[in-house]
């Protein structure tokens, strides 16, 4: 059983990655590009100090997004609404954060609170619709995504946009007290000097706290036990006194609050305002990362870093005449491959367990059936 767990948690994602890179290599071959040189270029470009810092920066929103999705997964809830929630939350956070200036720690905390609050509210709508009206959360969160997109576009252009618009259309700049400082000075203590432009986001520390918090909440707390019990067997959980409706609402609130924090790393670490082209797709890619990391915080961290690395290292591809969109293909295939491989391995492990049990009963001495 121990080796079965190793197979599913470590080997399955690895096989999926091999498959994804293999299929992408075939696609490149078909259009007359040597995949090995393409991958080599990615690797050599992606492993520079600057690239590694940006890889981590890219990974931060993906990791938080994956946490938001994963906590829902743990009880069989599928929150597709991270995408809309984080865009709306980042917009509100940017607007509110630009209205005042107080002590740095308080200012940043206030912005985080606004973002988490907006995200939690947005997910709460889906939770209430599920509990009170029986609307499946997948459908409601899909619809809420588009509503959030429309609403944030409307609010951005008509309400929150800065009056003194220069060349870029954006909200007002957040005062410096609301920025999350870069970690580069700490890197310098270890003798790592990065070129200007590559600032390791201070949000990294918050993300680590969130990851550890997720682990304790899911695996060590009473709430987490109820959460997992509801996911494995809702009927049994209900019979043992877990209120399924409360669990849905609470889980959606936590998931939404996490989703609200997805956009914080780029917002407070890089843009310091909400521009019209605020980065998209962290929500959907977060689902991919959660699947890749099998809802385990360490696994998801690796998954997020991998996606962040691909995103960064693909930038070199355009310079060597390789379409960088190949990375999106790899990401799409990885999602599909990892769940398929997991399914296949689980079947294999299952069969082996059954075979082992059968072998054990065959050799066991005769026991009266009633006693067993």
């Amino acid at each position: 059983v121990k080796s079965g767990r190793f197979l599913t948690t470590v080997v399955a994602p690895l096989i999926a990655l091999v498959i994804a890179f293999g299929i992408a290599a075939l696609a490149l071959l078909l259009v007359g590009i040597n995949p090995i040189t393409a991958y080599q270029e990615m690797l050599s470009f992606g492993l520079s100090t600057e690239s590694l810092i940006i890889t981590i920066n890219n990974a931060l929103p993906l990791f938080v997004s994956a946490l938001a999705v994963a906590i829902g997964f743990k009880m069989g809830l599928f929150n597709i609404g991270v995408e809309g929630a984080y865009l709306l939350a980042a917009l509100f956070a940017a607007y509110v954060g630009a209205q005042f200036s107080i002590t740095p720690i308080l200012h940043v905390s206030a912005i985080l609170l606004v973002a988490a609050g907006v995200g939690a509210f947005w997910a709460w709508i889906a939770g209430v619709l599920k509990v009170k009206r029986g609307v499946h959360e997948v459908i409601s969160t899909i619809m809420l995504n588009y509503i959030a997109l429309a609403l944030s576009a409307y609010l951005f252009l008509n309400v929150f946009r800065a009056e003194t618009a220069g060349l870029t259309i954006a909200t007002d700049l957040i005062p410096e007290t609301g920025w999350i400082p870069s970690l580069n000075p700490i890197l310098a203590l270890f003798g790592i000097e990065a070129r200007a432009g590559a600032n390791l986001h201070g949000f990294l520390l918050i993300a680590i706290v969130l990851g550890v918090g997720y682990h304790y909440l899911v695996n060590k707390s009473r709430f987490g036990y109820n959460l997992r019990a509801s996911g494995v067997n809702p009927t049994a959980a209900g019979a043992s006194g877990v209120d399924p409706k409360k669990m849905v609402i609470r889980t959606m609130l936590i998931s939404g609050a996490l989703a609200g924090l997805v956009g914080i790393a780029p917002l407070l670490g890089f843009y310091h305002q909400y521009p019209q082209d605020f980065p998209r797709n962290f929500g959907f890619n977060g689902i991919a990362v959660a699947l890749l990391g099998r809802n385990h915080p360490v696994g998801m961290a690796f998954g997020a870093l991998l996606f962040g690395f691909m995103q960064r290292s693909s930038l070199i591809l355009d310079l060597v005449d390789v379409p960088k969109e190949i990375v999106t293909i790899i990401q799409g295939i990885v999602v599909l491959a990892v769940v398929i491989v997991y399914e296949v391995i689980a079947r294999y492990v299952n069969r082996r367990v059954i075979a082992a049990a059968a072998a054990a009963t065959d050799t066991a001495p005769d026991v009266p059936a009633v006693a067993a």
Binding site: L129, V135, L149, L151, F284, A288, E325, I340, E343
Partner: protein
């Protein structure tokens, strides 16, 4: 009045739909009278709504086949994206009808992928759908960067302009050409008679039947065809039985896995056709993001229509109508908002007379909110209008999810020969 209400309560489902449609038109006419616009129920609005409804209809029908066979399909959007790209490429390389064919093939490939994951490998349907959507977008952008970027007018996000599919006048009804014979233009003749009301109605019908696109016709024809195929043939019964209870179907000798493959691949074909429609009828070009969530709206139409072909048509017409408002100027939108307010408040009063106090309160409050918005706002923002189909879907779900019935085993994991 109460007698009328009682008659309505006793009426069958079909007559109820007619009543609801008539009441909706009546409410919109009243709103038009108040605001002094007339574009809300005009012929051009109706035909624009029809044109915008077709891709939603096709995606929704695609979802219908898939979900009736028991496979939840939120990958419709990705399949539609594949349809747009391949349709544009086919039309650019060969011709418009080859474009349609290639669009269908493109959608079918992604449908096959979804079937492989969900049916053969038993992957969670939602997960696979999400992957299909990510993959569809990425793969098409990859193809664009290889195929379209080097061409003049093309780039990584769009194809060179391409020719569309021609329109046609229907024979007999609108004087269309039948095997080289110019048939009489019946409704055109009626319209020119200048008879009160008759000529107006004839004009609207002439608008629907004249200069109609071939693909629109095909899309509309698919509704009765689907209803017949799924509800009047043994094949359809088998397919639906897989969506209701695959284990029972298996015990009766239905090849469940094969039927599910049929359902999902057909949904890919229809989504691909929807993409082809967008490229060849509406845009004349492939542009990244041109599907704009219509696959998901199709899913909304499917739910709105209670997993029935005629319902999907109704849902897509509603969403197509909402979509068409965006192109019709601010006054029209305002009168539509007023119509919604009147409709909701009237519905609230109706609920009150049936002593459903809570429902009445909620409906009146939402109606009053719309009324307030109508009175306050100068011009309805296009960005907010874009959210309309999704808001409608959510409201319908919130109001009626108890009355909706999806296929019983929709989304269930099923493996051949295993217990449920």
């Amino acid at each position: 009045m109460t007698a009328l209400v009682d008659r309505y309560q006793q009426a069958g489902r079909r007559s109820r739909i007619v009543v609801i449609a008539l009441v909706a038109i009546l409410v919109m006419t009243i709103a038009e009278l108040i605001t002094g616009t007339s574009d809300l129920t005009s012929r051009s609005t109706a035909s624009a709504a029809l044109r915008l409804a077709i891709p939603i209809l096709l995606a929704g029908l695609g979802g219908l086949y898939s979900e009736r066979s028991g496979v939840v399909n939120i990958g419709l959007e990705g399949m539609m994206i594949a349809g747009t790209w391949f349709a544009a490429w086919g039309a650019w390389m060969f011709g418009p009808w080859e474009g349609v064919l290639l669009g269908i093939i493109g959608g079918a490939i992604f449908g096959l992928l979804h079937a492989l994951a969900t049916v053969t490998f038993n992957v969670d349907h939602i997960v696979s759908g999400v992957a299909i959507n990510i993959l569809g977008l990425g793969a098409m952008r990859f193809l664009s960067s290889i195929v379209y970027t080097p061409e003049t007018g093309g780039s990584v996000i769009q194809s060179p302009p391409i020719g569309g599919i021609s329109n046609v006048d229907l024979p007999f009804l609108a004087g269309g050409n039948l095997f080289g014979w110019n048939t009489p233009d019946f409704f055109g003749w009626l319209e020119n008679l200048d008879m009160f009301f008759v000529s107006d109605v004839a004009g609207v019908i002439r608008g629907f039947t004249g200069q109609i696109n071939w693909l629109t016709l095909i899309g509309l024809a698919l509704v009765p065809l689907t209803a017949w195929l799924l509800w009047r043939t043994p094949w359809g019964l088998r397919l639906r039985s897989c969506g209701e209870d695959p284990w029972a179907a298996e015990s009766l000798g239905v090849p469940v896995l094969r039927m599910k493959y049929y359902g999902v691949v057909i949904s890919g074909i229809l989504s691909g056709l929807a993409g082809a429609f967008l490229v060849l009828v509406q845009a004349g070009i492939y542009r990244e993001g041109m599907t704009g969530g219509r696959g998901f709206i199709g899913l909304g139409a499917l739910i709105f229509g209670n997993w029935l072909p005629a319902g999907v048509l109704g849902g897509s017409l509603v969403f197509g109508f909402g979509d068409s408002l965006r192109f019709r100027g601010p006054e029209v939108v305002k009168s539509f908002i007023l119509a919604v307010a009147i409709g909701l408040i009237a519905y609230g009063i109706y609920s009150f007379t049936r002593s459903k106090i809570r429902a009445a309160t909620i409906q009146t409050i939402i109606g009053a909110a719309f009324l307030l918005y109508y009175l306050q706002v100068e011009e309805v923002s296009n960005q907010l209008l874009a959210a309309l189909p999704y808001v409608i879907t959510l409201l319908v779900l919130a109001a009626a999810s108890q009355h909706l019935r999806m296929p019983a085993a929709d989304g269930a994991r099923y493996a051949k020969g295993e217990a449920r």
